[in-house]
Symmetry: D2
Subunit: 297 residues, 4 copies
């Protein structure tokens, strides 16, 4: 199973009504259109930024179905189907496939720490339930489970449709190891915004980022500079956007991206509680960062 | 709001059918009766051991209601109502109160890391929704959120019905700090089995443990030895049960306690996937530990 | 080789002249007399508190020889002989034995991280060079090397005169493991002041502490309460002295103990730079803690 | 004070006689010549690889003086003068300056953890004692002290001759932060071999490496490819040498570099105990890595 996912993979937010209770699907649709207008190569609904973990099953299905329809194959899509139970992740993976997803992403979410055998079996069960590719997602900061490179490669070898790896530990040496031990045959993607440049330099095929909701042109230019092998240009573009990348990571992606969308004309509500929206001092800071980037262009 | 929770607080498992899909409520009832027969001072349904995080909302309600009815006020009850969203935790807390729980337990479960203000607001919202006491639960290994003692005490001061603290970091110095900074006025409970003796020695009012499903007499004897101020006896009782306590912690509480219940005549199925049941080598080891403890008595 | 080291093992400071350049041996002598008058069971010169790591070889020898002469077998002595090189540690161990030390203490100090084979060989070389017992000292916070219990027990088994273990990780479960895996046959000693009570409860034979320079009576009363099996009394004595124990640990033992000795009539100078003496706000705090303990007695 | 240190900064080993007791200065001289022949831009004696921490004061002076004479200003030199005491580091810094060093390097080595004020004062005292530039060296794995970027920049601002920063935490984001907060005005150097490419991409002025003893041409080619802005070439060169860079880091630099020098015709003995020389299986592996790199050229 080959796959051509590459470049900027834009993550969607999930807009809520003011009280956080209702989904705001029309706003979701507009945010998807903006990502596509911004030039992303791929769209990924319901990831960490999309607050997938905070939705009821019914809400999750509404968002998945609506997103896939709105994307409408204009670009490929990767739907996050992570769930604490294997049965739940299988159900979501099937739902995504049935509604037209081009791939699914799976984080081994955990309450009780998982053994390597349990993680492998989790991927195997999901893989057996669908025909589309799976992007394995390693992010110990949110999942509580850190998959070493050796385990990741074992899963890639043993589960046919696990064909892509998203690495978000923030440790660039994991990507070196994926490149060396995977003999350049396992496509990996960067999920840690402040490593955007280094990950491409290390060989990442794409950059999974919610920043594309706010600065799609800068994200894309960085990718194109790397493709062109222009190191000086890539470095300059990276440092230009790094303060914003640092800010959205530290401030929490749902809160900062939602605030930024509001500032740029698309109100999408706040994160669902207990997560707070961006407070006033940080809104001022974000506005400043966005203004500065706009002037530079 | 005063509270008399003390002693051995026994955590229930949640029995499933063989395929992990259906609840087995009659088995749950028997396990509750065994805990009470074993002399626990309190019963706590739906905690970590009870796989509360792996249940659907509907299943969670069935288990909560059934457990409370079966306990039938024979001993006080503390129902874990943790949920990733504040709205969900509030709903569960209200449900527990309506069905007769004497207290609820709340872990600040998190996907996105929570700030101190977010955690405080989470407890405040739950506290405002119910009239019964809340046991605040700190367990970074499962929640991903480590609440420092200063934050815990701030929540206790600011939210009236947060009246108890369950500490499961495994760091005995946290309990010292709770005792010193709380001026002996904040009852704390130990959630780390291998610290059972030291926690009591440090002043813990109770020991939250799933071990009471398997060795209730030994758990109780340790508590009574401490109450009697008999250090030598307490030390001997602690080291006698420590190998089992270490084993159930390292093997994962749902897997080991469920296996142990099966070995002692009460089949309760396996944990829900992706968590595995106990494998054969570890079943042999567990049987050995249980046999040894039985001979010693 | 059997050993009777037990109880309060008092660690000496190393007094310097005002500019930190010269040793002040007469003040060292007085501090040793005070420890013995305070009732310590054992005296340990040149440990972490004694700034052994900051002395030249010649200074180290002067302090070792002077300390052993002043102790004069009134109580047993354990001299810390740690050095970054094996050759240096062997030289110091021989020197200590020649000058009458009853035992030596060895921390596997490291610049380059040591493998288990390197650590074992280090102890083996020192053990082969002397005839007196060695106390193995595990303190990763200062040595950079954390010896797991399994390695410690291997060294105890393979090197005849390694007969005692000092544990300073601050993790009480290490002592449980030493007790269980060592089958109660390996005497261990606590080097983490805030764990004083729990370590005794877990079976520690002694408490290695610099606090005995300041509050020897309280240290001794705690030990005696434990020997008498009086849990309530031990708990009360522990919490009474805990604020001071916390303070000296957090403030750095050389700085706080030296300041405290000065406050109680024995000026001993300051730590050697780059380590600072206690600043004024902390001196006020220390004086307050000492005053409070004096009133309580 | 401006400085032109850039490129490959080659670290010397310190050769010993077979028993580890005597210095082998002629072999040191040959290794220096090889580094210069290999094209390094700068030579750095007595660093971590040079086992500076394991030498007596007298040995340290011999090696410093001999190295500086042998380098003979053919390339600039940076002598590591770290010592546990401030007085010792000052003495070594003066000695290095008197014997012609172009700069000194200072790691805040620590037994007792240092506060920020203590670290600042340490650098201030050394800075005041000499007129040549200081390279501040952050390497918590060996020093036990991790200096955050804010502290590093404060030291650079407050101590005139601290003009360069060597970063060895292995976290590329530290370099981003040095670049952003230092506004591109603080030259930083990479001390973590497996980050060689990323550090240059992030803006590092040089690469501090002992690998130049073994593969100077590959190190230099990587630097030149970066200077030329040739990303594809830099990436290829990086991945070619990465297995060796990983190997020497994991195997311990003194052991692996000394073994490698022996394999390439320059016997330099083994590391000083307790550090072991490379064992046979790893010698075979190192030989294989070197052979492979030779064939590729």
């Amino acid at each position: 199973m080959t796959t051509q996912f590459h470049g900027i993979i834009g993550y969607t937010i999930t807009p809520f009504s003011h009280d956080g209770e209702q989904l705001d699907l029309p706003a979701l649709g507009q945010s998807i259109d903006r990502l596509i207008d911004g030039g992303v190569q791929v769209i990924a609904p319901l990831g960490s930024t999309g607050e997938g973990a905070y939705l009821s099953d019914s809400e999750w299905q509404q968002v998945a179905q609506y997103s896939l329809e709105r994307i409408g194959k204009r670009v490929p899509s990767i739907v996050s189907v992570s769930d604490l139970t294997t049965a739940g992740a299988v159900r979501r993976a099937r739902f995504a496939q049935q509604h037209g997803a081009d791939a699914v992403m799976v984080l081994p979410a955990a309450y009780w720490k998982l053994s390597e055998a349990e993680i492998l079996q989790h991927y195997r069960a999901i893989g057996a339930a669908i025909d589309i590719p799976i992007m394995l997602y390693n992010n110990p900061a949110t999942s509580g489970t850190d998959m070493p490179v050796e385990l990741i490669l074992r899963i890639v070898r043993e589960v046919d449709n696990v064909t892509m790896v998203k690495e978000s530990t923030g440790d660039i040496q994991r990507m070196h190891k994926l490149q060396l031990l995977g003999e350049g045959q396992v496509p990996f993607y960067n999920g840690c915004n402040p490593l955007a440049l280094e990950a491409f330099v290390a060989g990442a095929k794409g950059w999974c980022t919610a920043a594309a909701n706010l600065i799609p042109a800068l994200n894309q230019q960085l990718y194109q500079a790397v493709l062109a092998g222009d190191l000086a240009q890539a470095q300059a573009l990276f440092y230009r956007q790094l303060p914003l990348l640092d800010f959205i990571l530290k401030g929490g992606l749902p809160a900062t991206i939602k605030a930024g969308l509001g500032m740029t004309g698309l109100p999408v509500g706040e994160p669902r509680r207990p997560v707070f929206g961006l407070d006033e001092p940080n809104r001022v800071k974000l506005q400043g960062l966005l203004d500065e980037l706009r002037q530079l262009k």
